[in-house]
Symmetry: C2
Subunit: 83 residues, 2 copies
């Protein structure tokens, strides 16, 4: 069966996020006074074939840890849906 | 009230995604034969203050369209949750 796996890769807590901090710092001058913080991550959408949702989740997790995330500084969260 | 807005920015359909295509092309050699395609986008997590969820959604949408996404080639999807 075909599945869509959404792999959200974000920096671990405590790792500095200069891109997010820069965006957040620019916002008050642009009229966005009520934004306190911005964090930037990546979202990978993976189209894959697996026997069931459990296998799809495991495949996406392996892919995330081996290739998509730098696990020293990043963590990933995976959501699988049927395509 | 405090809200967390997740802004997912991805390329519009039809816009080429060389980063995703490169990852997808590399996968068979790494043992991931059952992955058909990979699409790469960004996920911004925005901590903001708003009177209600509707206002938070509107603020995040304005932020996304004005700053986070290049609306010529990208589209954004927003989810708001209470922080």
């Amino acid at each position: 069966m075909k599945y869509l796996a959404y792999v959200d890769v974000k920096l671990r807590p405590g790792i500095s996020d200069p891109e997010g901090a820069t965006i957040a710092r620019a916002l008050p001058a642009l009229g966005f006074d009520s934004v306190h913080a911005v964090h930037v991550g990546k979202r990978f959408t993976v189209e894959l074939e697996a026997s069931d949702a459990h296998a799809a989740q495991a495949l996406a997790a392996s892919l995330a840890d081996r290739l998509l995330a730098n696990t020293v500084i990043e963590e990933s969260v995976i959501h699988v849906t049927e395509a």
